[in-house]
């Protein structure tokens, strides 16, 4: 996959937040607070009991005073407004004390295998106090103000998969079917943070002004998501889990192919109308995004312009499109020829959205065995051909060019935070992480060619007796040659590499929206904005909350609510 296309992905029906919400609503998960022990300032402990289809879980949250001076979204922070844990079963008093001692410490604490996820959140300086003040004064917050931020709290990390003593992913996958999909437990933790954040604002407003305070209106509540800051820590994941990334993208491509096939014989007017409504919604969504990143602003504007062109065409030519048996593949082809990659990916996402009956079953196929296997009996001649065929993009990179190795990735001693260094400027190049797959393949290829010149009939097993340090490279090459999408076809150590594309790719599979780049190295975004509330779980559900837009308040707001 090309990096710029990966960096243009949007959430889809297969994104983990979407699939989680569908599951919770369909199975009518029961979520109730069993402890809500907060003081008048909103500091204290909350515990929620979660009754899902296959088991019971506990979401435990601690709310702490945090000096605004110490509020920091980076991995290296050591204090937060909120810290929380998702645990199996119900939590007794003894376990709650254990969690109270360790969860607020996050990476500096230890938990045990009863815990699935550890996370933390910080208040939005722009919205939290504003919203509480408005509610305390008996008013609903201004939707335009909310639109600028989109959340009351933002999460800065959600650790799972066995970190800090937690349950291994394999335990979660095999013993807790409610969370047996990649990142389902982590996404649920963020969903619960959103739920708490709304309760928290209501609670503090009521504490401050019991006589006048009102609760947030439900339409406004739905428009609040959870903020997220994602930095370089996510980037190595994509390089180190190529089979998993391949699986995710393959399912997404399968979904897109099914959608295109469904319209092969033409598009009916109802489907066309749905597509147009969705297109107009994206136009509005992009228009409502507020970002200080000029490049992102320009990009959003250009995508809007192209989508407006599409919308106008749908409006004017709708009847002809239906009668002429025009199909989605033709539209996609047109987009590829005329419009930006970002616009193409919006269209792809919208097409997938149209066919839930064909797409949603793929959500069960997002996990995969990630073992890489070396094939020792493969002849070196065959390995050479495999590299030339599957890694032509890597062989095409000229690593002798000055900028071709201008960056390097390393782990800092500060919480092992991944960082990007400048070659010959920053320290630590000798400890760089092995993320330069293109360069690794090039080095392997050169050694294979040299060995073949001397031993043309030899196999991989004998080659790695001579070159044992290349076994990892060969194992990856042989494994990934069987897949289409796992390797990112880009020189990831070029001076101008844009890691933010890597972050956006993974975040799109999580299901976030409103990308707000803060630099080429980290991005803010919004999770679950527009998603149903827990109180919506027993109501009719349309599953159409992607690309959130400002709510049109359907009724005059009664301050006494």
């Amino acid at each position: 996959m090309q990096l710029d296309r990966l960096g243009s992905f949007h959430q889809s029906r297969l994104s983990f937040m979407r699939t989680l919400v569908r599951r919770m609503v369909k199975e009518k998960w029961q979520i109730n607070s069993t402890v809500f022990d907060l003081d008048s300032e909103g500091y204290g402990t909350a515990v929620y009991e979660v009754k899902a289809k296959f088991g019971t879980y506990s979401y435990v949250l601690f709310s702490h005073y945090l000096d605004p001076e110490n509020r920091n979204d980076r991995v290296i922070a050591n204090q937060w407004d909120l810290t929380m844990a998702l645990c199996e079963g119900t939590v007794d008093a003894e376990q709650l004390e254990f969690l109270r001692t360790n969860v607020p410490k996050q990476e500096a604490g230890r938990v045990d295998s009863r815990v699935f996820v550890l996370s933390r959140g910080n208040r939005s300086g722009r919205t939290f106090e504003y919203v509480v003040d408005e509610l305390a004064n008996g008013r609903q917050p201004d939707v335009d103000v909310i639109a600028e931020v989109g959340y009351l709290y933002r999460t800065t990390a959600a650790y799972g998969s066995g970190k800090l003593g937690m349950a291994d992913w394999e335990k979660v996958r095999t013993k807790h079917r409610d969370f047996a999909r990649p990142f389902a437990a982590e996404m649920f933790t963020c969903f619960m943070l959103r739920h708490f954040s709304l309760q928290h604002a209501d609670y503090i407003a009521a504490q401050r002004a019991p006589e006048t305070a009102v609760k947030l209106d439900d339409d406004i509540r739905r428009y609040f998501g959870i903020g997220n800051s994602t930095g370089l820590g996510m980037a190595p994941f994509l390089i180190n889990h190529p089979l998993l990334i391949n699986q995710w993208i393959e399912q997404r491509e399968t979904a897109l192919a099914r959608a295109k096939m469904a319209g092969t014989d033409g598009i009916d007017s109802q489907m066309l109308e749905r597509f147009k409504i969705a297109t107009d919604r994206v136009i509005q969504h992009l228009g409502e995004i507020v970002t200080g990143d000029e490049k992102q602003n320009i990009s959003n504007g250009m995508v809007r312009q192209e989508l407006q062109e599409l919308s106008q065409w749908l409006l004017e030519e709708g009847d002809n499109i239906v009668s002429s048996c025009y199909n989605w593949s033709e539209l996609a082809q047109y987009a590829e020829q005329r419009w930006r990659v970002e616009t193409q990916e919006v269209i792809n996402t919208l097409l997938i959205e149209l066919y839930p009956d064909l797409v949603d079953e793929l959500e069960e196929l997002m996990a995969v065995d990630e073992d890489q296997h070396l094939v020792p009996q493969m002849s070196l001649q065959e390995l050479k051909l495999v590299i030339e065929d599957k890694y032509d993009w890597a062989l095409a990179i000229d690593f002798a060019q000055p900028n071709a190795q201008g960056s390097f990735w390393y782990r800092s001693e500060e919480k092992m935070e991944p960082r990007l260094g400048q070659t010959h400027v920053d320290m630590g190049m000798e400890k760089q992480m092995p993320l330069a797959i293109g360069r690794m393949v090039r080095e392997c290829y050169d050694e294979v060619c040299a060995y073949i010149a001397e031993f043309p009939q030899q196999d991989v097993a004998h080659f790695i007796l001579q070159q044992p340090n290349l076994s990892g490279a060969i194992s990856r090459i042989q494994t990934m040659a069987q897949s289409h999408y796992g390797d990112i076809r880009e020189n990831l150590v070029h001076s101008d590499v844009l890691p933010i594309h890597l972050l956006r790719c993974k975040l799109s599979f999580f299901g976030v929206s409103k990308f707000d780049p803060r630099s080429r190295l980290w991005v803010r975004n919004t999770m679950f904005q527009g998603a149903p509330l827990i109180s919506d779980f027993d109501k009719p559900f349309m599953d159409d909350w992607q690309f959130p837009i400002k709510p049109v308040l359907s009724k005059s707001i009664d301050p006494s609510r």
Binding site: R74, V75, R110, D112, S113, S161, G162, K163, L164, G165, M166, A167, D168, W169, E170, K171, K175, G231, L232, D371, H373, L374, V375, P376, Q377, Y410, R411, S412, E413, E414, M416, E417, P418, R419, L420, G421, Q422, D426, M427, G428, K431, P434, D459, V460, A461, H462, I464, L465, P468, N469, L470, S471, G472, A473, I474, S475, R518, S519, L521, W522
Partner: protein, 243 residues
Amino acid sequence: MKVSRNELTASLKKAFEGLGFSVGDYQDAAAMVIWSQMHGFNGLEQLNLALPFLNNCLCLHAQLVSNGDQQALLDGQSSSVLLCGSQTVRLACALARQYGHGFVQLDNCHNRLLIIQRLVSAAQSGTALTAYWEQGSSGFKVTIEAHAKHPEYSQYTLPTQSDNQSLMIFAGEDMVSVEQQFVSQISLDSPVSRVESESMVDSYEHCLEQGIEIDETLWHKLDNLVARVLVESTESSRAGAGD
């Protein structure tokens, strides 16, 4: 203290990287230790014994001494199976694929008990394998059928003390052919003890459910090795994280 499998894997990979292992080597070595620990073979104890040695030597791999049809002899150069084991098993598998069966003897190597995970991994590709080594008055035999998930482990009493530091790997299409190779070279009485696959599964499930017990001293040793791959943080380096 208890750690999860993923946590231990991440720590071991970086610790081996800190010892100078290359990418493929540290992945394989971490997998070997963890498999042994989780399946009841005391992988962490083995590692603890190996660390002083690994810490004071170059990362030596096996060298090819002789190579004939169906068999090869390797010299482990007094290194660890953590570094030589993968090469040895892969060569045996390649010979088996080419000739129907293969035999590789790795001389002069240590930590041979840790080889089991490499056998299990290779079996998934359709090769049946047996490993055999001797230590003191005991012989140890590990067998696994092609595509099987778990091996059988047997211990034997030897008639005389052995100071042999060799590891023998037999590979073939199925266990019948592998066993024929084995008995043509090694003669053993009945085993004095055997570990069945059920016992290994129980141990694995327990570790997965409760976490893996690790001695805190060893955990700190690993932390110190991990620190070798970390780079000092400076104001300038913080800019490389997005500040």
